[in-house]
């Protein structure tokens, strides 16, 4: 397990993740076309954008699961895409990630899921693992659910267990992939509060990828809006609320029509009907 001194910056910079000139394409489809991003240390940064704008891909690039076509991605001073396997895995131990589905291992109980990273990466005695797991589960309010199977959990509970697992190794950063999608108002409220609380209490750096504008903006310190491969707006949530950009405005306000048209490109309506 990482000691707290190891977790602090290798380079003392205030920026934990630095992305410069990021280009990434999947086949012929360009996903990022020159993206620059800075994720400040200790803050909660949101990356928002319409569905299909490559937000999840961005997290995979930061985690080193994908490599950029051009540009650089630095996490804590390390260029992720140039790291060897051992160094990359070393870095990943200091990063927690919460997947949209929770990604709990379905053949393990809640307790064993949270214990999984501890058992894989440490030689701690079982009694200590038990204490640590119960502490992490207590932090997300699910100490009582330790013996349940993942299939017995609701979507919101599964995400909280995944969150307990993500903080098991006391990471320096957590990345959340669409944490609020498909949640009822209560679990949404719980998650919103937990993410902010954990960030501040554990001194983490958090990145939230989401298109739930209201919830995300409510807890973020800084917001990037991505669309069509570029950063189209950035700033504090308050500043973005007063933006001049029509596109950012349409997204932040959730307007059905605007620069992103309501209608998928089609021939003229009248002609189309008459040609039948």
């Amino acid at each position: 397990m990482q000691s707290s001194t190891e977790k602090t910056a290798i380079n003392g910079s205030e920026t934990l993740v630095k992305i410069r000139g990021l280009h990434y394409a999947r086949g012929d489809r360009v996903i990022f076309d020159g993206v620059d991003l800075d994720i400040p240390r200790g803050k909660l940064t949101a990356i928002m954008g319409p569905s299909g704008s490559g937000k999840t891909t961005l997290l995979r690039l930061i985690g080193g699961q994908l490599a950029p076509d051009q540009g650089s991605i630095e996490v804590d001073g390390l260029r992720v895409h140039e790291l060897g396997r051992t160094d990359l895995y070393g870095l990943r131990r200091r990063i927690g990630m919460l997947f949209q589905s929770g990604a709990l291992l379905t053949d393990l109980t809640v307790f064993d899921n949270v214990a999984f990273p501890l058992r894989e990466h440490t030689d701690l005695p079982e009694a200590m693992i038990r204490d640590l797991v119960l502490m992490k589960l207590q932090a997300v309010g699910l100490r009582g659910a330790r013996d349940l199977q993942p299939s017995e959990l609701s979507g919101g509970m599964a995400r909280r267990v995944a969150l307990a697992r993500a903080i098991a190794l006391d990471p320096m950063m957590i990345m959340y992939d669409e944490p609020f999608t498909g949640q009822d108002p209560i679990s949404m409220g719980v998650l919103v509060q937990l993410i902010r609380l954990l960030n501040d209490a554990l001194g983490l750096t958090s990145i939230i990828v989401s298109h739930d504008v209201k919830e995300t903006a409510a807890i973020s310190d800084y917001v990037y809006v991505i669309s069509e491969g570029k950063v189209i707006g950035q700033g504090t949530p308050e500043a973005l609320g007063k933006t001049d950009s029509d596109l950012v405005n349409q997204f932040m306000q959730g307007l059905p029509d605007g620069p992103v048209p309501f209608h998928y490109p089609a021939p003229d309506y009248m002609e189309d009907l008459l040609n039948a």
């Binding site: 985690g63 699961q65 895995y89 990943r92 990630m97 997947f99 990604a103 291992l105 990273p117 697992r165």
Partner: protein
């Protein structure tokens, strides 16, 4: 016409790409074997689900195959007054051929398809990506134990299939059709050779086990992570494994008994 040639080229490319990926995957998997051996608990769990849970279908099929062989063999042999040789006919057919081949096919259908579906669903539900992000290599943690379990289980299952088949033949031949018990076993003992017959059968089952498990875990790992993708991969596992088992059986038989 041009479109047809283009399509042919595309499928050729995609075939060789898949072949390359599966070979790289095999190398990574083999590199993961030492990490499994130091954690035998992972392997034991997989030996149970791949091997032990396949036992019922193997035992029942083995018994019926042996019984049918004895029935068919007896009807032919009795015309020549050679029904005493029934033990040899049953044992050689099963040990050399049917044991490894039928076990290989059943193994692909029972264990192979389950492996593909399980790994494919783990990929579709981001469990494999989740492990990668927890700095745990899924090939070492998930794939390698399953591969070794299949590789170990298949020859053992084939041996059990053969043994049960021979007893099935005994039940029908000696028990129901009245073949002399001593002749059944004695002729088998004198005509079935340990090296030529039994060992060659074992080699076949080891090869089938290797290939069928490799196909199953690769198809699962390489699946398109959607429900349709997993279902296609599972089908492919069964079809490709069946082709591989039958094709390799011909090649191995030609090499072993060809001269």
């Amino acid at each position: 016409m041009l479109e047809w040639i283009r399509g042919l080229g595309r499928s050729g490319f995609s075939f060789f790409q898949t072949l390359g990926r599966s070979n790289l995957f095999l190398l990574k998997m083999l590199a993961g074997i030492p990490s499994v051996l130091v954690r035998p608990r992972l392997l034991i769990a997989q030996l149970f689900s791949v091997g032990v849970l396949s036992l019922p279908i193997i035992v029942v099929s083995g018994a019926f195959v042996g019984m049918v062989l004895a029935l068919q063999g007896y009807n032919t042999l009795v015309d020549f007054g050679a029904e005493e040789s029934l033990g040899v006919v049953v044992a050689l057919s099963i040990v050399r051929e049917l044991g490894p081949v039928v076990t290989g096919l059943l193994f692909a259908g029972r264990a192979g398809s389950a492996l593909t579906a399980e790994i494919g669903l783990m990929k579709a539900t981001e469990q494999l990506a989740g492990m990668e992000m927890m700095a745990v290599d899924p090939i070492h943690r998930v794939i390698a134990p399953r591969f070794i379990a299949g590789f170990i289980s298949m020859p053992l299952l084939a041996a059990i299939f053969s043994a049960v088949g021979i007893y099935g033949g005994y039940f029908v031949g000696v028990g129901l059709l009245g073949v002399d018990e001593g002749a059944y076993w004695a002729q088998m003992q004198s005509k079935v050779d340990l090296y030529d017959d039994v060992y060659n059968g074992v080699i076949k089952s080891v090869v089938f086990g290797f290939v069928a498990t490799w196909i199953a875990v690769f198809e699962g790992y390489d699946t398109v992570p959607t429900s349709e993708g997993v279902s296609r991969s599972t089908t492919r596992t069964v079809v490709y494994s069946a082709f591989a088992v039958l094709g390799l059986d011909f090649v191995l038989t030609a090499l072993m008994f060809g001269d």
